[in-house]
Symmetry: C3
Subunit: 423 residues, 3 copies
């Protein structure tokens, strides 16, 4: 009957905590989820409808399911689920983790498979989040662990279980064209810009929120420079690769997701961002091909490079920064950042230890959860695309012709153009 | 001399009411008007310049005219028009209604016709808004009636009067191509994301604003699921249709425009959103073709499905929810939602009745106003496009060639590509 | 050792001044810098990756360098640089000026040249800003002088020094295609919408901020109408030109950058916006070709029309409005707008004079700075593109094929389409 009363509470709706600062952060996070993730994945030449459309579908589904699951695990008051701006932000965060996993299986799954994956992943996300934030008292405002590490390794295990040996039959479609890369940049830029809002959305108002936004901003700026530099360095002709710019430039936001609200300092954030951008580019260049050929992990968007490794880096940075935190540096602000930062009771080493344990728990939950979910998704009942038709919108969408536009042009073509066409 | 002193007041400029919360809501609404509406209409293959460009033109014009008209009817203080963030939001709302009507006549009208339509529609919008909000004391914060129902039926009558029997001569251009559908999704997603800001922009600060944002959010999430489900269900092959996703997924925001600030509850919002998405998809599939063939209503964007029916649904939901409102449920908040919610004087049935009357007034104003405006627009003096050149940018814009890009590629083509091209 | 302690201060990070209103203005400004400028320049048919990518690179670099330079010149407290939301906004402003100059040399410079340009331009920007705001006590909240005039004339001199007599070898690529113009409109619309936030971001909270946002809004609305009108008027067939709509419609925001926080009144703002739009369109039509043929200034984006002339107009409007300011009009608000607006000490003519001097200083700094920087950039060590490969992504980017998409379509083509293709 707890579930029942929770549902009743949800149905009645209890509202509170309205502040402009949380609401505009919510809108920024919302933009990242729907525009950022949605358009980031439109880089595939014939999978734009599905990228932005399925992103839309599973996000709209996940945020509802997340409101119930997160409410059930840690949003209950007197048997009712409290909803409000904070629950909306948290639901978007949980959705983000599902969309990360979506990136690994992009182009190889049916919408029904994605919805089933969301059901399991959201539920496990809420459990993991409950263990980390409530039981272990961990700090993870920007979700390096709960969102990025969890979503990435969950998705990687799922795509491993769903391994397709004959995927190269669709290989010619598993790449971008000129315009699709520009659409993808819309996603990248929006994710990049609003990441300060993302990481600071549920931090404490005032100094902690301010610090989180700034640390994220400096980390991203530095990460972007590292990305451009290494993208050119690893290319034999010194050319830049859009895959790196679209993805690795964002790793700096992932890597300060845990420590962002701590006294990382601008210079510290920049170092973290630089490291994140570097390992992300190197991952795309050298690690992803190995993962596919040796470990049979077909990771369409390279989420291991954007969310996996930078997420783990963020967790480690968070653990180290916690272990170094002291009242001497934070003053009265210690308690505003760390739940157990009460004067006289503060034990930095212990806090750092709990942060490290949180990473291990997250990895465990992601691996086991992904394994189980992967086998469930492998059942041949969801209308998954055949190996010959992966990365192709036409299977699930009414796709208009591409050429029409050019033909029509002639009707109002200038004399000059008509001449050219006739000759 | 009232007009004169109003203009003087406008010229002098009186400012007040600056709060962060209203200003960021204004910016979100602004995004919906210029990016949301503008890109939503770029789905046509050869009408992208006009869609986003004319949207830009008539929006920039309408918001100025609306500031004067709305100021004249209900923003006067001591003979001067008060301007400020609130007047800017209200002007954007009024502009939204013109852009809805634009959707019905999209591709079949000249920019001059659109500006003339805006002059009349803005004026009537201000009159209707004055009757509803000031005389009848109606609630309509998100504008299910004032914006959506009014704009939709006004536009439908205009397009009926401007009926073109030979429009099929341009039929081959009245459709999308792959990239134009992706541009349109930019519009859809922005409208979807910021609708909570839209509906809550002029509600009372605190609980009513919070509740409006949440009800809108849940309604849209549920509406999106209904849209995907019914889009696949009504297709013989089970494929999704971009027209539905781009439009019907937004109907949930329209349908809670009146009742959003009331105690609709999350579950109630979801039911409303589900209904809105369903009738919208069914409308696109079954009703629009009938409207065109039987009633001679050529509705380019299908505004009847996105704004017309969901707007009426929203008005009805608002009337019913008002009629059920009681101090027992709202407590002290009743007066913050309903202007006549004073303790001891509250009469829910009467309030519900006035809401219903408001819908009737709105429909009447829209039908008569659209009829008159339509006949004015039919005068052959505005440079309307011929039947053979509808849905075509080339008539009003300097259009660059489409093919150039491909030819240029060769100059720096890699050896591999050059080989392919030579063979 | 001042530099040393400044760096230490930066490394330690001092935070303050967190308010929701400054933070959401920051996010809006951020959108203008990364999406606005980035996509505005994607109009070139084969330079989209570089436009949005190099914009990303030099913006991420400039904001870091600007934080140090601006901090060094006017953000020091006790030998440390104060960083926070305000410094983030100011760094974005400085970045904006570099991106304006980028517009002049777009397509003709290597990324290394752009970074070197940014190093010099950011430094000089900080010096000029220090002279104007701190020494001369000038008002320039929206940066008509510090950002637009400075960035425009700096960039124009740089492109003059880098004059390429044989640029017509790349002429066929120095134009848009249909889709690239739509991508550019994304940039235009975002710049247009968020300009009220831009101009008001660092004004005083309350009335001055409110007034700035409104003046900018009215100026832009009026400017847009002027742009459409004159774009059609100067075309022999009465057709609209996308170049004008994309650029000139924004000149109204530039032109109220100085006077926006003053009592310009809505009507005054509209006059300024109308003038700005008019001179901008006329500049694109008649002046730009002359600048290129007679003065050898190759201005790719036409920044002289969007930022140069409207920036000077804005400076003049600011000087005149200051010279007319009086306690009778501003009441107690005079001191909130003008730093030297203390009762009894206010001298409007003197203020107007200092504003005029500020413009002269800015022009001088821009011309000399641009000259020196231009010659530094002319050194043949930065990998600048040859005349035959300007406006071409392929030199610096791994560019995917364009045609792939069309071929793939056939594989899942409907019977109808296949038939058409076979015949």
């Amino acid at each position: 009957t707890l579930l029942h009363s929770a549902l009743i509470g949800f149905i009645n709706g209890v509202q509170s905590c309205w502040t402009p600062s949380t609401f505009y952060c919510f809108q920024d996070v919302h933009v990242m989820i729907f525009v950022g993730f949605g358009f980031l994945m439109t880089f595939l030449q014939r999978y734009g409808f599905s990228s932005v459309g399925f992103n839309f579908l599973i996000a709209a589904f996940s945020l509802q399911w997340a409101t119930l699951m997160q409410g059930f695990f840690h949003g209950m008051h007197h048997g009712k689920i409290h909803v409000g701006v904070t629950s909306m932000i948290n639901a978007d965060f949980c959705t983000g983790s599902v969309l990360i996993s979506f990136g690994a299986v992009l182009g190889k799954t049916s919408p029904v498979q994605l919805l089933v994956m969301a059901i399991f992943e959201v539920t496990l996300f809420a459990v993991n989040e409950f263990i980390l934030l409530t039981i272990l008292g961990a700090n993870d405002a920007g979700g390096s662990m709960t969102i990025h590490t969890f979503g990435a390794y969950f998705g990687l295990v799922v795509t491993r279980v769903l391994y397709r040996p004959n995927l190269d039959k669709s290989k010619h479609r598993n790449s971008s064209v000129y315009h699709s890369d520009l659409f993808a940049m819309i996603g990248t830029i929006y994710l990049w810009m609003f990441w300060p809002s993302f990481n600071s959305a549920i931090t404490n108002y005032g100094d902690p929120q301010h610090r989180t936004a700034m640390n994220t901003y400096y980390s991203l700026a530095s990460c972007t420079l590292a990305t451009f530099a290494f993208s050119a360095l690893v290319n034999p002709e010194g050319k830049l690769d859009m895959v790196h710019i679209q993805n690795a430039a964002l790793a700096g936001g992932v890597a300060v997701g845990t420590a962002g609200e701590m006294m990382l300092t601008p210079f510290g954030s920049m170092i973290v961002g630089f490291l994140a951008g570097t390992i992300s580019v190197l991952g795309y260049k050298y690690l992803t091909p190995v993962l596919e050929s040796k470990l049979k992990i077909q990771d369409t968007c390279g989420i291991h490079n954007l969310h996996g490794m930078p997420g783990v880096l963020g967790a480690v940075v968070g653990a180290v920064t916690s272990a170094l935190a002291s009242p001497a540096v934070y003053g009265n602000g210690l308690q505003r950042v760390f739940a157990d930062g009460e004067p006289g009771e503060w034990n930095a080493q212990s806090r750092g230890g709990f942060q490290a344990i949180s990473l291990v728990v997250t990895l465990g939950m992601a691996l086991i959860g992904g394994l189980v979910t992967g086998f469930i998704l492998k059942l041949p009942i969801y209308g998954a695309p055949p190996d010959t038709h992966c990365f192709e919108d036409g299977l699930y969408w009414e796709v208009p012709g591409e050429e029409e536009g050019h033909h029509e042009l002639n009707e109002v073509a200038t004399p000059n153009e008509t001449e050219k066409l006739n000759s």
